[in-house]
């Protein structure tokens, strides 16, 4: 799975591409664990076209990891199929989900002001 990474306003934006399933989730977990030095993270899911329970588990582990270090991880741009898996598993209650990576990144700034 290809994963791009850049920083926007002190927020680390991760852009995976392809399928997040049992074949790719272990590599995704490793990549997420290797990203250190930032507590604020956004995963832009626009180019993730499929997710299964293994992929969802990798995202759950990632958000838990960030929150344990007093940070957070937010999601953006879930397609219809990915959103369906989130609805079936009620994972939308665990994650903050936004329509764009910009909106997700800006939400960190708003939280700082409040």
């Amino acid at each position: 799975m290809q994963i791009e990474k850049h920083t926007r306003n002190d927020v680390c934006v991760i852009s995976p591409r392809g399928r997040l399933d049992a074949a790719t989730a272990p590599g995704f977990r490793d990549r997420m664990a290797a990203i250190t030095g930032t507590d604020r993270m956004v995963i832009d899911m626009e180019r993730v076209d499929f997710i299964d329970s293994s992929g969802l588990g990798a995202l759950v582990a990632a958000v838990r990891g960030r929150r344990q270090s007093a940070g957070d991880l937010k999601l953006a741009c879930l397609n219809r199929d990915v959103r369906r898996v989130f609805e079936l598993t009620r994972a939308f209650r665990l994650f903050d989900i936004f329509d764009s990576p910009d909106a997700a990144a800006k939400s960190f700034a708003r939280e700082e002001r409040t």
Binding site: A22, A23, F50, L88, T89
Partner: protein
């Protein structure tokens, strides 16, 4: 009229994408355009179901499974699709699995739960030394 298609696939995660996309493609051709069930949703249901069931079969077999094969039988109806996945793993007690506490958001354990959510029927039996998982869904 029904068609039967059988895939015999090495029990390796390498083939996960192939198997689930194959199921999605067959399902897409079954749901009628403009019908009561959205074609994309019908196709995604089988893509997800095969991703979960194939993954379970590969993982349940462990390292000893890598030389074995998983047989996947597709049977198409006019507006329905049945899929049976057969693996030579040790007996798998699907009925003994407890549902995940989804409100606690665990990191694993959603596989069979998701399968049951997206299919109309899911059944399991042990036959001729194989686990047989049958899934079916109607597009009407």
């Amino acid at each position: 009229m029904t068609d039967a298609i059988t895939l015999t696939v090495p029990a390796k995660m390498t083939y996960l994408h192939l198997v689930s996309r194959f199921a999605a493609r067959i399902a897409r051709g079954i749901a009628p355009r403009g019908g009561p069930v959205d074609r994309s949703d019908f196709s995604h249901a089988f893509e997800l179901a095969l991703s979960e069931s194939f993954t379970n079969a590969v993982k349940h077999g462990g390292a000893s499974m890598t030389r074995r094969r998983i047989v996947i039988e597709f049977e198409t109806g006019e507006n329905s699709l049945h899929v049976t996945l057969k693996d030579p793993n040790p007996p798998f007690a699907i009925h003994d699995l407890t549902a995940p506490d989804i409100d606690a958001h665990p990191e694993s354990g959603y596989g069979i739960f998701l399968l049951k959510q997206v299919m109309d029927t899911v059944s399991f039996r042990r036959e001729n030394g194989c686990n047989e998982l049958t899934m079916a869904k109607k597009a009407v």
